[in-house]
Each structure stands twice: as C-alpha cells, then as structure tokens.
C-alpha cells in the first residue's frame, strides 16, 4: 500500500511545512514571536525547541499515519477479510517502549545541559536590574546606577543584564517573548535570570507581559523594553539618575509662548540637558498602546493648554494627594513607593504599565479616574465628582479639571 501511505502522510507533512514557515516568519507579522536568537538565552532555548519540534513532528507523523492507515485499511467492508485475532506481541511492545525512550534521551540530554547553562550565576560585569512586581505595574531599579523607574526598561546591547526579581504583593511573572524565558516574581523570595542582547540587535523596542495571573488587571500589566546602544544607554542612565530638574519659571515661560501642542513644547526648552530617550518616531506600531479609553470619562482637552506646571507642582500635586503614593527625586516629601516613581515620567512613552500612550489628554483622564481606565488600579480616583468604582462612592474632595490640567503640565515637564 505504498500509495496510500504517501497520501495519508500528506496532511501531516503539510502541517509540518506550515508550522515551519510560520516559525520562520519574521517579526513584522509576529512581533512577539518567541522564535528569535536575539539573546544567548533565547538561542539556547530555540535550539532546544528545534529539537523538540523535530522529534515531536516525527512522533506526530508516525502516530497519525499509523492511525489513519489502520482505520482505512481495516475498515469493515462487505466481503472483506475477517478480523485476525491477535492478542499481543511482546517484541512489538518492547519496540514501542524502547523507541520513545531513545527519543526522550535525545531530548533529555540537551535539556539538562541547557538547564545548568542558563541557571548558572550571571557572568561578571553584568548590568544588575532589580525588577519589582506590583499590582499592576513594574518597578525597575538599577542599584549600581542609582536609577528608579517604572514600566519601561532600557538595556544596552552586547552587555549581559542580570535581573533580580521580587514582588511587593502577589506573584507576577516577567517576560519579553523575543528575549527569552520568563521568571516569576514573588514576595519573600528573589529570583534570578540573565541574558545578553546581541551586540548587533540595534536600537529597538519590544513588548513584554506579566504572565502570572495577578488579579483584576493582570491583562493590563505590560512592559516595554528598549535595547539601545551603549552610549545611548549611558546618556539615558545619567539623566535618569539625576533629580527632577523641573524649573517652574522656565516652564511657565514656554507655556505663555505657545498654547498648543504641550507635549513637545516643554520638551525643547525647559530641559536642555535631557538625556537620551528612545525616539518616539522609531516606535513600531505594535509597541504603541492602543487601549481604548473607556466611555464615560469626559475631559475637555482645551483646558490642557491653560495648564500651569508651576501651579501643578506647588499646589495641585499636594492637593491631589499624589505625594502620598509617588516619589519624585528632588522634591522633598515625595518619597512614597506605593506608585511608580515619577521623577522622569515624561521620558516614558507609555503610562500605567504600557496600557496608554503618554500624552496630555490621556494623562488628564488617568488622573481624573485611573480606576475607570484600568480596572482595579491601586491609584484612586482623583477627579472631583467622579465615581470611584472600588470605593463605590463619588469623589468630593479631589481635583477639578483645571487643577488636573496644571498637574498634567507639571508631569509633562518631568523629562
């Protein structure tokens, strides 16, 4: 029956071909693909995967082909042969015990090698990054560089980065599909993982995710990674380590000059010495958040133009209680670690752990009612007259829309 065999093996072969083509497909169609060799870790994993896929495909083809051939060949037909009464065959049974065993050995040996390789201590000279999970955002600390930041991670290419991971609350898991494996973040425990982004990787942006279910907004706990050149990293790091250099007067001057596009306005003049920031125009579409702002959250964007960063810094930031949760390096009293560090918040492209774009209108709505925008968020509702879905009450004390505009102006200046 050689003809039949080929025909029946067809679909299986097709499956393999499809799988392999899809696997080979580049990162344009599948930007979060795990089939990359961008780090040493993922190169090891991929070679393991290739082996698993190879043997998996063989087992798949053999079993399905045997199954299909059997049921076609021995289907009951009028006048067909009667069933042969076979009860077993020791030799055959030993064979199909032994062959899988051999295949498994072929899988197990490189597996064990890879386990010990990837879990060895990080090589000397690695860049240390502390990753701290919070419901539902990420805190990053570079202990050697004195940097505290959130949700967006900068890593120089060609240098090993060693993550030290823990959590402030429940279990989270830290993962960039394109870079390699994930590790869980747990309170009372520290986990380690390290990898080296290839030196030729270039300046690129990547998506990452929290992959351990951590409560209501688990799906909204995303991360961005920027792999940058070493000099770019240095520039970024130097600036991030410095205190907030907001100058209320300079900011006010800019405001007076231009009442429009606030985003770029403060940018150019207020902070001449700002460090490197991943250029917005190089962000690929899939890295730009598209989360829709839920209906029912109204804010008149025209007010933003009248926002006064000085007033924002000196009055509304206190009034809104922001200082109770957010640290801003250089501002006395702003040291809380409940929420993300805002020292250089305007150097980030996203807010709320990669859920929304960093821009005036979004910030205003976020401050007005964060919990409406991100279900369950720890940041409470601040807009006066807004309904706080967790406290189940309407906010009476908070900030009105003008005060929010001031705070936004202030935040936008925190380059």
């Amino acid at each position: 029956m050689p003809k039949l065999r080929l025909r029946e093996a067809g679909p299986a072969l097709l499956f393999m071909v499809v799988l392999l083509t899809l696997t080979a497909c580049g990162d344009t169609v599948y930007p979060n693909t795990t089939f990359t060799q961008f780090t040493d870790l993922n190169t090891t994993i991929l070679s393991l995967w290739d082996r698993l896929l190879f043997w998996g495909t063989i087992v798949f083809v053999v079993v399905e082909a045997a199954l299909i051939i059997t049921i076609i060949r021995y289907r009951k037909r009028p006048g067909g042969p009667a069933a042969k009464q076979i009860h077993g065959n020791a030799l055959l049974e030993i064979t199909w015990t032994a062959i899988p065993a051999i295949i498994l050995v072929l899988i197990a040996v490189p597996t064990v090698k890879a386990i010990f390789e990837t879990q060895a201590p990080a090589p000397a000279g690695a860049l240390r990054v502390e990753v701290i999970g919070h419901q539902w955002w990420w805190e990053f600390r570079y202990p050697e560089l004195g940097i505290v930041t959130a949700n967006e991670l900068y890593v120089p290419v060609g240098r090993t980065v060693s993550f030290e991971m823990t959590s402030k609350d429940v279990i989270h898991s830290f993962w960039f599909p394109a870079m390699g494996g994930k590790r869980d973040l747990m309170a009372n425990r520290t986990n380690y993982m390290w990898y080296t982004p290839n030196a030729d990787l270039g300046t690129q942006a990547w998506n990452g995710f929290c992959t351990e279910y951590c409560g209501e907004s688990h799906a909204n706990m995303r991360i961005r990674l920027y792999t940058v050149q070493p000099d770019e990293f240095e520039s970024w790091a130097k600036h991030q380590a410095s205190p907030a250099v907001f100058n209320p007067l300079a900011a006010a001057a800019v405001l007076a000059a231009s009442n429009t596009a606030l985003t770029r306005a403060v940018d150019s003049t207020a902070q001449p010495s700002a460090g490197y920031v991943f250029p917005a125009e190089r962000l690929p579409a899939h890295v730009v958040p598209q989360t829709p702002i839920p209906a029912g959250l109204d804010y008149d964007d025209a007010l933003l133009a009248q926002g006064d960063p000085t007033r924002g810094a000196t009055q509304s930031f206190m009034l809104g209680g922001c200082i109770g949760c957010h640290a801003i390096n250089g501002i006395p009293g702003a040291v809380s670690a409940i929420g993300p560090d805002l020292t250089h918040v305007a150097s980030r492209h996203t807010i709320a752990s990669g859920l929304f774009k960093f821009d005036g209108p979004t910030l205003a709505r976020w401050i007005k009612n964060a919990r409406h925008m991100k279900p369950g968020s720890i940041m409470n509702t601040i807009g006066r007259g807004e309904y706080d879905p967790i406290m189940k009450m309407t906010v009476t004390a908070g900030l009105d829309d003008r005060q929010i505009a001031d705070v936004v102006a202030y935040l936008m200046s925190l380059k």
């Binding site: 079993v63 045997a66 067909g80 076979i86 055959l92 015990t97 747990m186």
Partner: protein, 638 residues
C-alpha cells in the same frame, strides 16, 4: 445455549424499577440510578462550563473587545476551568464508575450503596454552591489553581474566593468518599473467577484512578484548610507580611494537581479500551501491558508535579529531576497509543459514532501529549508557560482526550443505560462538528502562544500577531457549541424514541453486556462465574479469545445462569421475586449531605460580620450532619 437457572415465569418488562417518581431518585441507593444522576448533573455542568467558554471566546474574538469586563472575564475563566475539571469531567467519569464498575465485575451493587448516594448529593450541593455565585457576579476569580497569596484575604477580600475554597473542600469529601467505596468494590465485590487480570480495562483504569484520588486529594485538602483558616480565622499560612512562602500553596496544589490530570484522563482511556476492541472485533492488544502502563502512569504522576512550576526558580537540580520524571510518563502513555492502534490493526473496524470518538481520542490526545513533552523541557517551557501554548496543550488532552473518550463512552453505553440507541445520524453531525471545531479552536492556540500571547488576558492590542488565531479559535468554539446542541437533542430524544437495543447491541465481550438493557435493579440474578477477560465472546465466538492467558474458552466462562439467557430477553423479575435483598431506599445520605454543606456555608458570613448567621448555619449543619450519620449508621442497609 444453556439456560438452566433462567426463571421461567412470565415477567413484567419494567419491574426492575418498581418505584418511580421524584422520591425514587432522591432516596435511591441503586448504583445505576446514582450513575444516571451523575451523568445528567455533570452534563449540565459541562454545558455551563461550555457556555462560559463561549463567552470567553467571544470576548477574545477581536483585539480590545468590550463584551465583558475584566472582573467578569476573570470570573469566567476561573469558573470555566473549575467547572470543567471538578464539576464536569470528574463527575462524568464518576457516572461511568457508578454505572459500569459493578456491572463489569459482576456485582449487585457497590460496597457501600448509601455512601455512594452521599457522594452524589455532596457533589450536587457543592456544585451548586460553587456555580450559583456567578449569577450574582461574585464568582471565584482566582484562576482554577487559585494561587495564594492572590487568593488570600489581603488581595481577594470579597466573598468570591470563599465560594471556591469551600466548594472545592466539599467536593473533595465527595470524591474521597466515592474513591474509598470503589476501591472496596473493586477489591472485594468481584464475581467468582473475576481475577484482577481478567477485569475489563475500564475497571482497571478506574481502579488506578481511585488510588490517585485517595492519595492526591489530601494535599489539596490541607492546602484548602490552610486557606480557609487564613481567610476566616486569621492564620498566616499565606500571609506574605508574616514571612509566608508563596510557593507553599503551589507545591501543595500541584502535588494534587498533576495526579488530578491523570484522574481526568484515565477513565477516558478505559472507555476507549472497551470501545476499540468491540468495534474492531478483536480483543485488546497487549492487555497486560495496558494494565501495567496504566499503573505506571498513575505512579509516575506523583513525581512530576513541579513541572507546573518551572518558572518559579526551584533551581537547576529540582528542574532536572522533575523534567526527567515528566518525560518518563510519555513512555507508558505511548505504549497505550500504540497498543490501541494495534488493537484495530487487522480488525474489522465499524465506524459507529462511539468508535469515531474513540479514534479521535487517539489522534488528538497524541497532539496534546507531544506538546506536553515540549513543556517538560524546562528551558523551553520558560517560553511556553502561561501562554496560549499551554492552553492548547491542555485542551488537546482534556477536550481531545477526556471529552472525546467520555462522549464515545456515552454513545457506547447509552443503549445499556436506557435500552435504546442514540441516533447515529445526529451523532455523526455531532462528531464531525466537534472534531473540526475543536481543531479549529485549539490548534491556532499553539501559534498564538508561541507568538507571545499570555493566557488569562481579557484583552490584547491589535497588531500583536494574534488576531487571526484568535478569530479562528472563536469560530471553532461556535462550531463546537452548535454541534453540542445536536448532542443534547440526540441525548434527550433517544431516551424515549431511540431504536430499541438488546442486551448486547454492539457484540461486545464483557460482562455488562450479558444482562438486559437497562439492567434490572439486582444486575445479576445470580452472580456469574468468570473465567475469561471476554466472557461473552467465549460464549458467542470463542475464536476471539482463544490463546489469551487468562481465558479458558474451553471451560464454560460465564455461567449463563443469569436471570436471562445471554441472548435477547423478554422476561424480568423483581429482586423480591428472586429473593435477592437490595439496599433499601433512603434519604438519609441526602440529609447528611445537606448537613455538611450547611455547616460549611456558614463560613462566608463570618466575613460579612454576620456572626449569628454563621453560627446558626454551622451549628445547625453540624447537628444535621451528626444526626444524619447516626440515623444512617443505625438503620439496616437492606
């Protein structure tokens, strides 16, 4: 055919059910009726779990959909997983344990008929307790494995998780009680001559499952007790502020959780091992090896739990050990797959619906098994864990394995349970819709997972490379749902309108087919004497069993001293007429079960500061429980 002991008086066709009406169900201690109750209830919960899946898939159909809210979604997948595992598949298996085991081993009933009724009632009440909250939007939302500390008071302050811990604890009582019962039944109620190595494969796999149950449930019982203590009495087992270790729950859960997945699959393997020989007209290939591989799977299943925890940082040595143990399981499982294929080889295969489902299990489970082996390599699993690749794996083994096997079992045993066939034409619609639908649903998940989609996300951005796969999955689900409607219609209708089936409609070989369909309450007018694995084939077609070690076709293998001869029967007698004592009907198990449930349902009120209500329910329930037990233990069984 010898009919020496066959009664000769004219019988009454439905005399076996000498009682009808609702009370006859409430007070029943008949294992077949309890099996029927399990079947209906579990099928209902399967539809509920399926409906939850349909909503989940609708929400994920396109990027950033707003069909349900984040919290609703989280409740849905938690309840979907919990319902499917604990309220659908396990009880569906229990339905078959109940209905089949006594028939297959030639017994009149299970060892403890009233305990059996108790198991069912506890299951029903626990299921209701667990499921009803979703109607009020307070359903559990911690995922089906409820990782602490997320499920501790601090992070889940509402009542949601209360329903989950208590519900699972109560369901555990049900499973444990049933397991002790079936262990005893299988060890001690086998008909003369029914040696262990002559037991039908379904009974064998069930036997293994009962041991998995009694040994795997205690760890989760303990984990749940800790969580209950934490949530209601302020202990610190999972309180991170007190220095608790977040891995405690995970280890205790998965020590249970992995054997649990074999609890879900082995009964289906057993059913398939009955269906394939029957429709291939051949005995099972390599019976002994099938038995040993089942035992091996169960045994190894206790040594692999931490493969669910490769990302938690256990260290290289632990990762290695658990990885190796996990890979080992592929060997006995592979043996089963190949032996099934060999069973069909050189047979005369009849493609009934039952057979199609059985064949589909072989094909689909293999896919799930292969992806399982891919997870078993820890570095590779770091790219797979908690993504849709895992979701694809476990649906291929759970849907492609357990559900396919159980559906096959339902088509196969329906005639025995009701005396009527299910409609084959509707059945074919059901089969093909389900088969195509499941592949359309779950195969794309391999890709969405490997292309980076995490699981348990209620929304995702467009352009991540997942849109097409998710759309396909959703359409596949709709296809399954539609074909399931065919099944429901077929199932409900065929009970009364299906073609009449005789005692042995498929030409099968095991004992349960030697008695009328549906079986009389006493099953066997006289205990059969067995000297073969396929007593019926010995009788009807000795060629099939010639040469099997444990069969002696030349000696009489099944004394056809049943109430009726093996061939078509028209006469039935009541147990009374035959002088067979049967367990008395009693509602005491139900009463006791209500007591147990009431006792536990007081706990959630503690959280709402309704101390008096809590105490009333708990003490009242405890009194009912003790009173019920006392009345039960002091009243005669038969």
């Amino acid at each position: 055919m010898a009919t020496i002991a066959a009664p000769t008086q004219a019988g009454k066709p439905d005399a076996y059910s000498n009682t009808t009406g609702i009370w006859s169900w409430i007070a029943t201690t008949d294992h077949k009726r309890i099996g029927t109750l399990y079947l209906w209830t579990a099928l209902f919960f399967f539809l509920v779990g399926g409906l939850e899946a349909v909503i989940i898939r609708t929400q994920l159909m396109r990027p950033n959909m707003g069909f349900v809210s984040a919290d609703t979604y989280n409740q849905l997948f938690t309840m979907h997983g919990t319902t499917m595992v604990f309220l659908a598949i396990m009880p569906l298996s229990a339905a078959f344990f109940n209905f089949l085991i006594p028939l297959q081993i030639g017994a009149r009933d299970v060892a403890f008929p009233r305990l059996n009724a108790f198991s069912y009632w506890v299951y029903l009440l626990g299921g209701i307790f667990l499921t009803v909250p979703i109607l009020f939007h307070v359903a559990p939302n911690g995922g089906w494995f409820g990782y602490a500390p997320l499920t501790s008071n601090q992070f889940s302050p509402g009542n949601n998780i209360d329903f989950w811990v208590i519900g699972l604890q109560v369901l555990g009582v049900s499973s444990l009680a049933a397991a002790f019962n079936f262990i005893t039944t299988i060890i001690n109620m086998r008909a003369p001559g029914m040696t262990l190595m002559r037991m039908p494969m379904f009974t064998w796999m069930s036997f293994v499952v009962q041991f998995l149950l009694i040994l795997a449930f205690p760890p989760i019982t303990v984990a749940l007790v800790f969580l209950i203590m934490d949530r209601f009495f302020g202990t610190t087992f999972y309180a991170i502020a007190a220095g608790a270790d977040p891995l405690l729950w995970q280890h205790l859960f998965w020590v249970f959780g992995h054997p649990e997945v074999y609890i879900l699959i082995l009964p289906a393997f057993g059913l398939v091992s009955e269906i394939l020989p029957t429709f291939s007209k051949k005995p099972l290939f390599g019976y002994n090896v099938m038995v040993y591989s089942g035992i091996m799977i169960g045994f190894l299943g206790f040594g692999v739990w931490a493969h669910h925890m490769f990302a938690v940082g256990m260290g290289a040595v632990a990762d290695t050990i658990f990885s190796m143990m996990t890979m080992l399981i592929a060997i006995p499982t592979g043996v089963k797959i190949f032996n099934w294929i060999a069973t069909m080889w050189a047979g005369e295969i009849r493609f009934t619906v039952a057979m199609k489902f059985a064949i589909a299990l072989i094909g689909m489970f293999t896919i799930g098994g292969i992806s399982g082996v891919m997870h078993s390599s820890p570095p590779a699993d770091l790219q797979q864990t908690d993504t849709y690749f895992i979701v694809a794996h476990f649906h291929y083994v759970l849907f492609g394995g357990s559900i396919m096997g159980i559906l096959g079992g339902i088509y196969f045993y329906f005639p025995k349970m009701t005396g009527r066939f299910m409609d084959e034409r509707l059945g074919n619609w059901h089969f093909w819709g389900t088969f195509v639908g499941m592949n359309l649903t779950f195969f794309p998940m391999h890709f969405s997972g490997l292309y980076g989609m995490p699981r348990r996300v209620y929304r995702y951005d467009a352009g991540q490379g997942w849109d097409l796969f998710n759309l396909m999955s959703t359409y596949g689900t709709y296809l399954i749902a539609v074909s399931t409607l065919f099944f429901v219609w077929n199932f409900v209708r065929s009970r009364t309108r299906g073609a009449v089936a005789g005692s042995d409609p498929w030409g099968a070989g095991t004992l349960e087919w030697s008695i009328p369909s549906p079986p009389p309450e006493y099953n066997f007018a006289q205990l059969p004497e067995v000297s073969s694995r396929y007593p019926l084939w010995d009788l009807k077609d000795p060629a099939k069993t010639a040469g099997i070690d444990h069969s002696h076709a030349d000696a009489m293998t099944i004394t056809d001293a049943h109430a009726v001869p093996v061939h078509e029967e028209t006469e039935r007698f009541t147990a009374k007429e035959l002088g067979i004592p049967m367990p008395l009907p009693t509602a005491k198990p139900l009463f006791t079960a209500v007591g147990l449930m009431t006792m536990f349902s007081g706990l959630p009120f503690l959280r709402n500061d309704m101390f008096a209500v809590a105490m009333t329910l708990t003490i009242g329930g405890a009194c009912m429980l003790i009173g019920g037990l006392y009345a039960w233990l002091t009243s005669p069984l038969e």
